[in-house]
């Protein structure tokens, strides 16, 4: 049996209006709707599709891992409802940045020995785009970031990955085990069906306190303060093409 590890992060829904907390260092969490980071949802979907490709040929277990408050069991259950096999929740009330997440994920790669670690290319809250690469660096695994197509060889010794890069698409081959991070157009995640939501409640979900792991949970990047970006001044509604061209020519001087 081969394993695929899919680390997921819970993030505020992208439509949420983000407000800064009174400490100026964190965001207000009241009333936030939490979702699986959209790129991580793509990662779950990709793991499921790989598993489906190998039905009858190769048994595959998909493990979903997340780090944070116990409430994110909800997001792990959503991934299980999509079809993942079991979940691991590393509970922590502290701030988990890319550095800490990468250490925790690396520890579980050591414990579970997955052939693939598939995760989102970035989280839409911190927008750092680091965790997958940090894991690959930590464990000296090959990495294929920003994947828009993934093909695993029949013998599970190699994956061919098409990557979205500046100016085009690049194809690389990586030996397994490897770390893959997902770009937007890799797939469209499925919606869990009702029977699968019911089934997901019975799937195993281990809760492990971060203190029981041998990782230093101190964030590497200290947040000194948060602020809102400077407001843009109100624009002008023009009534015609002629007026627009005149403004662009005479006022803005851009044409």
């Amino acid at each position: 049996m081969h394993k695929i590890l899919v680390p997921i992060k819970r993030v505020p829904d992208y439509a949420t209006k983000i407000k800064i907390a009174p400490d100026s260092k964190s965001i207000q969490t009241d009333g936030i709707k939490w979702i699986i980071n959209p790129f991580d949802e793509i990662a779950v979907e990709e793991a499921l599709r790989i598993k489906e490709t190998f039905v009858g040929k190769q048994e595959i277990e998909i493990i979903v891992l997340s780090i944070g408050p116990e409430a994110l069991g909800e997001q792990i259950r959503s991934a299980l409802a999509m079809g993942a096999d079991r979940g691991i929740l590393v509970s922590s009330d502290g701030l988990i940045d890319s550095s800490v997440a990468a250490l925790v994920i690396s520890e579980f790669v050591g414990k579970e020995s997955p052939m693939l670690v598939i995760m989102g290319k970035q989280a839409i809250d911190s927008d750092s785009s680091q965790t997958g690469q940090l894991v690959a660096g930590q464990l000296d695994l090959p990495q294929a970031t920003f994947a828009s197509k993934v093909t695993v060889s029949d013998t599970w010794d190699k994956a061919t990955v098409v990557r979205e890069v500046d100016g085009g698409l690049e194809t690389i081959g990586v030996s397994l085990p490897a770390v893959i991070t997902t770009d937007l157009r890799l797939n469209e995640p499925r919606y869990p069906s009702l029977p699968n939501i019911v089934k997901a409640k019975k799937k195993p979900l281990d809760i492990i306190p971060i203190s029981s792991l041998s990782v230093d949970a101190t964030p590497g990047l200290e947040i000194v303060s948060l602020e809102l970006p400077a407001a843009k001044k109100a624009g002008i509604r023009v009534q015609s093409v002629a007026e627009l061209v005149e403004k662009l020519n005479k006022d803005a001087k851009v044409i």
Binding site: Q130, L134, V165, I172, V224, P229, L244
Partner: protein
Amino acid sequence: MSLICYVEHSNGKLSKTAFSTISAALQMKAVQGYPKVIACLIGSDGVASAAEIVSEYGVDEVVTVSDSSLQNYLAANYAAALKEIVEKFGAKGVVGLSSAQGKDFFPRLAKLLGGVQASDCLQVLPGGEFKRPMFAGNIVATVRLTSEIKVITVRATAFEPALKVSSKASVTSHSISFTPDTKAEFIAYESSKSERPELTEAEVIVSGGRALKSAESFQSVLSPLADLLNAAIGASRAAVDSGYAPNDWQVGQTGKVVAPKLYIAVGISGAIQHLAGMKDSKVIVAINKDPEAPMMEMADYSLVGDLFKIVPELVEAIKAVKSS
């Protein structure tokens, strides 16, 4: 205590964004007390000639790492090569670009160096602090790296490209001592480049959304305007997902971040993630049939109406202005 500035190139060709990286490095020297900026170029073809050019832009020293195993970019090899340079010079900081390449291998480099990375920085502050965007640019964070070695990627549009200076820095070449990684191999590169300026380089961008209705009309409506203004063409995620435009035309939080002098948004409603990629443009024009669309609120100049009528009229009106 030096700062290594990784300068990206493509077979020796340097883009405008490379000079923005140099500019960020020079600011870190001025504001954060690094005594020296050492520019580093990695690759094979064209490295030496690109290094000669870089040496004229205010850095203190230029080093090249040239090896046939580095001709095709691969994260593990580039991280290993740059790590050797950092260690050889006893550098305490490394700065690069938040490009597809920088995003890919800088975190790996940070891990190899036992350092921490701040991604996509917008501003260099005293005391080793940086400003960087979070939540699609809806929050700006001031951050400090806790590690001894600091790894930084910067957003090109936030730094004016460095200017040529009268003096020239020395250029030295270094060979690699690590064994190239065999766990990843380059297979192919398929370029989607066109004759138009690069999105990240263009002074003017004409960008289209799903309202363009098809790949054909996306081209037929936007091309004449882009041709006239020597503009790059961008696209919203919706337009890319609908197949109207190739992937790497996407402007947004997860696509390209741009800040041209003029950004013309045609039929783009302005989802948060798209606005995150273009809101720092100097002048924004929005053309949309929905007066309430977020892009219309964000724009400096907005015009309500049917884009299929307005854009051709706009082309004629600009032609008239240009010829007068």
